[in-house]
Symmetry: C2
Subunit: 489 residues, 2 copies
Amino acid sequence: MALSTMIHTHLSTTLYGGAVNRIPAISAHQQVDVDTKLNRGARRLAESLTSLLHLNIEPPSKKNLVYTNRDLFDEDKHNTPTTSPKEMIANKWRQLHGSMDWGSLLDPLHPWLRREIVKYGEFAQATYDAFDFDSFSEYCGSCRYNRNKLFEKLGLCKNGYKVTKYIYAMSSIEMPQWLERSRLMDTWSKDSNWMGYVAVSDDEETQRIGRRDIVVAWRGTVAPSEWYEDFQRNLEPIGIGDAKVEHGFLSIYTSKNESTRGQGEEVSLTVTGHSLGGALALLSAYEAAVNLPGIPVSVISFGAPQVGNSAFRDELDDLGVKTLRVVVKQDLVPRMPGIVFNESLQRFDDITGTLEWVYTHVGAELRLDVSSSPYLKRGFNPMGFHSLETYLNLVDGFHSAESAFRSDARRDVILVNKACDMLVDEPRIPQCWYQLTHKGLVCNEHGRWVKPRREPEDIPSPIGDQAHEHSLRIQMQENHQMLNASCQT
Amino acid sequence: MALSTMIHTHLSTTLYGGAVNRIPAISAHQQVDVDTKLNRGARRLAESLTSLLHLNIEPPSKKNLVYTNRDLFDEDKHNTPTTSPKEMIANKWRQLHGSMDWGSLLDPLHPWLRREIVKYGEFAQATYDAFDFDSFSEYCGSCRYNRNKLFEKLGLCKNGYKVTKYIYAMSSIEMPQWLERSRLMDTWSKDSNWMGYVAVSDDEETQRIGRRDIVVAWRGTVAPSEWYEDFQRNLEPIGIGDAKVEHGFLSIYTSKNESTRGQGEEVSLTVTGHSLGGALALLSAYEAAVNLPGIPVSVISFGAPQVGNSAFRDELDDLGVKTLRVVVKQDLVPRMPGIVFNESLQRFDDITGTLEWVYTHVGAELRLDVSSSPYLKRGFNPMGFHSLETYLNLVDGFHSAESAFRSDARRDVILVNKACDMLVDEPRIPQCWYQLTHKGLVCNEHGRWVKPRREPEDIPSPIGDQAHEHSLRIQMQENHQMLNASCQT
């Protein structure tokens, strides 16, 4: 019996009652999705989650629908800033970073924290916006820009960080199916993928936020179901206590960084990611905390599935890793049962129907509700609920669980429809609008359409010194050295 | 019983034997299409044509597959011209225009004629490339550029024609469902659509081709099934003899132009169009021939469905209208039974199962075969077979029915994948690549994504003097006057 089947059967009979097999009801929703790949992924996901779908999706709450669309999309708004003025938050950075487990900061959401969450979310979003998805490209699976241009190309220089490192996953070890692969043989790096990046706050931002902040941003996958299949593998012990992590993750995330303590100014590590990237964020935070004792480590994840068991959670607690999970309550991914298991489980091979499944909640949760935003469509839309831009719209508008969407929210709502169809009709924005001109083709002087070569500086080169067996390298050490160097100057 | 059902039942039992109801076999093919609208259209078409599908699609011929893909996509080709040098064809223009019914020019295809066919095909293609499909745009259904910029924007100045008129269809009369409509209320012209344009050869081209050539290019629809539904309406007499045309067409195409004979140089009228546009081309040629006696009128249609009955065909013959139908044998649209009827049919309401259905072939046919091109994918692909760019690739490579694809064909094969997925994998070109940057959105100085207003000169204005009850006006008369004026200078 396949794992997913077992889990579904188990969940549907124990937690949810038993209504399953409603797959046909989903297919109609799938027709709105545009991209084939997204479509396929969403369908597989939706089919896998049928039992959840019909039981957990609540009808949209009407409490906040006090706006008319005309009010929302006044053209004057086109000329307003997209962010509020920056505040000096240096004195409160430890609380904002989770030192008190965000206890009193989440409901109502402290405006300084809101701004920080959006900042990290935009760092995670960058891993999608710059990723080369074209399976015909020889650079498929890479970042389209080199690290010196990334933030400039994506309009993220405003955040005051500088990218210092790109993270690649290599295929020298067993490779999960979710890596984007080029269809070509002579590709930039066979079976390699850009997985994210490391960035460090510049002097001005460091002064504002009270410490030198190292950010690690992990890329998720486009379609959750791509990696869902990978969760149906065996688990293996992570080697520390009773903590176990899912085997698929472990084979990707293995790093042997040694600690080099920073001197002088304070340092923090903030790991972020959406979807699978959020799960990777948790794992890398765990490892960083083990290897870099004394540096405050926190995780800001968006729509991440659950990872690990309760022993893993306890170890994270002991290590002082602070985790803030941003979760949209309609999003299915954070609820996915394939990622949830407890310590009584030795190997999935041994699963029987008598196991008691539990959800292991790690850290604090900021819970958002699609129906709170007047900018978001109602109706079942698994891709839209899971989209990171949907999350960011909801964070930007969130004041408290009981209050309406902030009327003074400034983030551009048009971004919601970048890669899905969640925006209400009124602003007249097409779905999935974030796309390249002619998919990158240009017409040359002879009138022929060609795929231009990349700028030499943008050609990725993950191989070389960094290509070790377990080769996913955050290179915290190097960042630390750079950091120390920059402090001494 | 719906007309389509009757026709399918009838055809499948009389012409094809009776194998129907294989709809599920098609759905797998549909997954490759990207655009939702295309997808829906293609599926409806495919479902409607199931009986044809399984009986008429032959396995790909292997006779011409003598190339390896490596030969085909040599990078040196990127620096070669896309056309052969132009020839002076003035002395042969009447034959090329069909005066001898193209008898000896089609197999093998005369190179001068090939070039002319491609030219008219590109005029027809322009109606797709410049069309605003965005249902959220206030200009949905219009041309994105004004007539003075159209050819420049699309790289068609090379053909030596000048656009003189845009053609609009108005909704003051009953409107078929295939018109693109904006979802908005305050649109540029409610329920109006850009249907094509009139262009006239410039002096240099006129000299080369031996006459002043007036081209009327009609836009087809994106998805054939959009208008397929419209063919399921009643017919009404066109008012001349026994000729009948389909009611949906008649309500669109009604023009009251009077003839003004040209003086001086010779003049020709060439009407072109793809798909529905090809059917409109035939109807407008008919009317032009009635109203402009003495001017040679010819039609070059691509993938057009059959229109009219045998009496209509005879009248076209009597009027001297010459028709060259370019047909890809795998394309389902030219075989669509809904457009085929004969004079024994008074009204579709009266159809019984005893009617003898006939195909009425009008004019000459240039028959192409997808399997003759080494650049085109094998496998069932109804959208790809019907795509005009597929047609143009095949025309460009056609020498004779028995010979292989021309090795010296120069047209850019990358164009094939503009709006479908027919190109072989080797050149590494994504499917459906012809798309705007961010679907036309731009980021303003405040970091907000906005839909820019159109240049004032590009805002369409089909209303005004031209908005009559039957308001689709080619304005042949005005062109004639312009023509005369230009002759006298």
